[in-house]
Amino acid sequence: MTELLQALIFGVLTGGVYALMATGLTLTFGVMKIVNMAQGALLILSAYLCWTLWSHLGIDPLLGSLIVTVPLAALGILIYRYVVERVQRHDHGLTIVVTFAVALVAEALIALTWGPNPTATTPAYFNQAFKLGSLTIPRAQLYAFLLAVAVTALLQLGLKRTWLGHAITAAAENPEGARLIGIQPKRIGTWIFAIATATTAFGGAALSFLYQFTPDSQDTWIGLTLSVVILGGLGSVPGAFAVGVLLGLAESVTTTYISVRWSEAVPTILILLVLLIRPQGLFTLAARQDAAT
């Protein structure tokens, strides 16, 4: 029983972090139907930047992530304006190939800058834990989870309450109509990419003290973030959060009852199963059944 509860706690905390890491992808996919294969590389880049701030200036990664949002947003704008938007105009299908190219270039540049060795930030709390009876709640995981909740809530609020949020939602639901009332897709796209990559900074910060990372670990993270978005189906931010938690739980249970090694395969197995059997994703499925009855 304790074991199961512990697995559940780990699952929920990890899942929140997964959702945070996928937020950028959720936005670009949900609104613009663009799969940004550079998401993994951007995460790793954020992690390295947080690590640099932490190791050289002693800035805590949770705080450092706020600083990292600035260069990441700038990078997002550059990627959109000079790469994605150009390709999207003549062949939408190639955007995924070109962002994959961006990921490879970014991985190479990260490797040239920081070297190939495994890195991690180790702030004081990274291996401490709160005790709740016989249950353990690791502090690092908890902080990352709270960060995820905060970012998700802020994004939701921004989407629901601001003009930009309405414009983004409108562009997602009806691009032509949005264009007619004066919402320029290119401007909205720039904003979305800026916000998407900026939130990736938070995911990267969480990654930096939860996991060891190397330049080529971007490969793993793109797989994981993709699975969050695909399982979420619609690309909605709360949907991604729910799926992240589900994924975290699945991994945590797999780790506890089967083996750690198979838990690594959980996201990809879920991607394949969902896309082969229920391509519309888990959450749209639920919505559909509601609508049918």
């Binding site: 139907k33 799969v35 790469v83 150009r86 390709v87 003549h90 062949d91 939408h92 299908g93 190639l94 995924i96 190939v97 070109v98 994959f100 190219a101 961006v102 990921a103 490879l104 270039v105 991985e107 190479a108 540049l109 490797a111 040239l112 070297g115 190939p116 330049p215 490969d219 797989g223 993709l226 699975s227 695909i230 090694r261 198979w262 690594e264 395969a265 990809t268 197995i269 991607i271 394949l272 896309l275 082969l276 391509p279 609508a291 049918a292």
Partner: protein
């Protein structure tokens, strides 16, 4: 060919290819330089991969990022068979190819319901998963320890020939198969899928089978090549064999050379692999890997950004551009002959045209199922303009021969909106039924429900006596349904002739192996095109034609299916009066031949002159049905169709005692209801 050309470019190309092939075949015999042999072996591998990728990615437009999964699967199958069961790798690689064919078939299932992007993600995820599984399942694969194959036992004097020649042969085979695919109906369908998959399905093409075959072909070649590669390197480790970078190089080669061309992927591989070889020999040190990644990732990005069509298509576009500039042709070609021929309305040569449309199957094809759809005696055909008191002739015909289409309680909701709400509709064979309604009343959604583009929330659809509401679009086309679209949807990658003969009347795998256009099809299609006045465009892309001409071609394309029921979505919108008269003639002939026609049209004059019966839709519901006269007398129709506009105008006009004309709808509403004016032609 109008004037003699000194050197035929096709001959030059063939000579060049033959020379290159001979050079490659002779090379290891005259040179014992293992460096270049190795480089060529890897180049062949990449070229096979890129050629295979191109069948799915270039022809059908389904890009994959996971094709190195096939290299890995083929390599590990071969390696495991060789290491555990001592099976010769040259046999094992065939098993590897088989395993890859199976894997490709399973993965292609994902393309059944999703497009483009999801396929990329699935292939990417499959690659990752195979890598993880190969690591974990160490009992079979050696896990992270790696897997050693037996060392080749042949004499060193043979150098790498036993790898070199099989791979070269496999490359030749892969290119030959790719060339064959391009020339066959399989390739025709794949290019159609790339252009407009939904439309292709509506024409009866078994799109899933096409995609499955395309992906399996590419995967099989790569699997066999992977097996030979395994023996060549004699040692497999997971991260090297299931490497995403290999996938990236495959995609890069195909894109660089020219996606969708026959030789582009080969050319790309012969550029990329030597480049990769060069960098790996010249770059050393800790950063070598990162620099290579930077180089090839950057190159991939640059190709997509600045050379999206690839080298070969860009070169040939440049060549034709120069040639046309040299000729300095004053008049754009398509403007000249287009005007005269198709515009003659009626006219003698129109007669007999429809007979050719209606039985388009080549003589050699067994027209196996005569009872499949109702054939009707033409004497059931209702008379036009019946007296209002008489029973509705369409209903009479329905009672006699049953309906070709019966719709019962059909409903489709989008969120809270009921776009189509409890629609009942009957369509008699040999009749024309009009569907009227203001914009947004659900007419096109109803069409989409009938043809299977959209699935109903509830309700029943019966076509020629068969339930079709859970059938695929292909199955509905095979049952006898065909439609046109508001804006004609043609396939710009195909010629006009190919567009016409594309439609498939039944599911037939053997048909895929026929040439793109058989001689019988060509002859029949040419008479159809000649009848439409479009014969001179048979070999051009429909993208070069005018809007009206494209509408005619879509009509011919649809009729090639030999349908029992046709859905026409605003066929007369935006075309000239002469052309719409011609269209009316075609619709009349269709009815005479027993086809049921359902017609959406805002041009009420056109609709009224053709329809035996009219349904009026508003807010997703059928609000009236009957003859044009009956319907137009119905106050609910006038209210729903014209709404406030009429109420407003009526106040003024009725006071003056004059009939009122309502703007661009072409309706004239007088005291007796609805009379049809000759001004119905809508401009666009």
């Amino acid at each position: 060919m109008t004037r003699p050309v000194l050197i035929n470019p096709v001959l030059i190309r063939r000579a060049l290819i033959a020379a290159a092939l001979v050079a490659l075949a002779v090379f290891p015999l005259v040179s014992n330089d293992l460096y270049y042999q190795t480089m060529l072996i890897l180049t062949f591998l990449l070229a096979i991969g890129a050629t295979g990728w191109n069948i799915m990615g270039g022809y059908a437009g389904y890009i994959s990022l996971g094709n190195s999964a096939f290299v890995g699967l083929g390599a590990y199958t071969t390696g495991i068979l060789a290491a555990r069961d001592n099976i010769s790798p040259f046999l094992g690689c065939l098993v590897g190819g088989l395993v890859c064919a199976l894997a490709a078939a399973v993965l292609s299932l994902v393309t059944r319901r999703t497009r483009g992007m999801y396929f990329i993600i699935v292939t990417f995820a499959a690659l990752q998963l195979l890598g993880i599984v190969a690591t974990i399942w160490s009992g079979l694969t050696g896990g992270s320890q790696g897997l050693a194959l037996p060392i080749p036992t042949w004499s060193l004097t043979y150098q790498n020939w036993p790898f070199y020649y099989p791979l070269l042969a496999l490359l030749v085979l892969a290119v030959a198969v790719s060339a064959w695919v391009r020339r066959s109906k399989l390739g025709l369908g794949l290019f159609a899928i790339q252009d407009d998959e939904g439309k292709a399905a509506g024409l009866g093409l078994a799109t899933n089978a096409y995609k499955l075959i395309a992906f399996v072909l590419g995967g099989t070649f790569l699997g066999v090549a992977g097996g030979i590669y395994a023996y060549y390197v004699t040692f497999l480790n997971v991260s090297a064999v299931f490497d995403i970078v290999t996938s990236m190089l495959i995609v890069l080669s195909a894109l660089l050379g020219g996606r969708g061309t026959l030789w582009g992927p080969v050319l790309g591989a012969f550029i990329i692999e030597p480049l990769a070889n060069l960098t790996s020999t010249n770059l050393g040190g800790a950063n070598a890997g990162a620099i290579r990644l930077l180089l090839f990732g950057g190159l991939l990005g640059l190709v997509v950004l600045f050379l999206p069509k690839g080298l070969l298509p860009t070169l040939s576009a440049w060549k034709t551009h120069r040639q046309t500039q040299d000729q300095k042709d004053p008049a754009p070609e398509r403007l000249r002959p287009a005007q005269s021929a198709p515009m003659t309305p009626g006219g003698g040569h129109q007669d007999g045209g429809l007979a050719q449309y209606s039985h388009p199957l080549p003589a050699g094809h067994p027209d196996g199922t005569p009872g499949e759809r109702p054939h009707h005696q033409n004497d059931d055909r209702p008379e036009r303009n019946p007296a209002p008191a008489d029973p509705d002739p369409a209903a009479l015909a329905l009672a006699l021969v049953g309906s070709v289409l019966a719709v019962r309680g059909l409903t489709r909701s989008f969120g809270g909106l009921r776009a189509v709400d409890q629609v009942d509709l009957d369509l008699a064979p040999a009749s024309v039924t009009g569907l009227l309604g203001p914009n947004g009343s659900g007419k096109t959604t109803l069409f989409n429900l009938i043809d299977g583009t959209v699935r109903p929330s509830s309700g029943r659809l019966t076509l020629a006596g068969r339930r079709i509401d859970h059938k695929s679009r292909q199955a509905r086309a095979h049952t006898g349904l065909a439609r046109t679209y508001q804006l004609p949807r043609l396939f710009p990658s195909l010629t006009v002739l190919e567009n016409v003969v594309l439609a498939e009347r039944r599911l037939s795998l053997s048909r895929l192996f026929l040439p793109r256009v058989t001689a019988a099809e060509r002859a029949r299609a040419m008479t159809v095109l000649a009848d439409l006045g479009l014969a001179q465009y048979a070999n051009t892309s429909p993208a070069t034609l005018s809007y009206g001409q494209r509408k005619l071609i879509e009509l011919a394309q649809m009729l090639w299916l030999d349908p029992a029921l046709v859905l026409l979505d605003e066929p007369a919108a935006g075309i000239s009066p002469a052309l719409s008269q011609r269209l009316a003639g075609i619709i009349g002939r269709l009815r005479a031949e027993g086809v049921g026609v359902l017609l959406v049209e805002h041009d009420v004059a056109f609709l009224a002159s053709l329809s035996d019966r009219v349904y009026v839709m508003a807010n997703g519901k059928i609000i009236a049905a009957g003859t044009v006269a009956e319907v137009s007398a119905n106050p609910a129709v006038v209210d729903a169709y014209l709404g406030d506009q009429v109420a407003l105008a009526a106040g003024n006009a009725l006071a003056a005692g004059t009939p009122l004309a309502v703007g661009n709808t072409g309706l004239t509403v007088g005291n007796t209801g609805l009379a049809v004016g000759p001004t119905g032609e809508s401009a666009s």
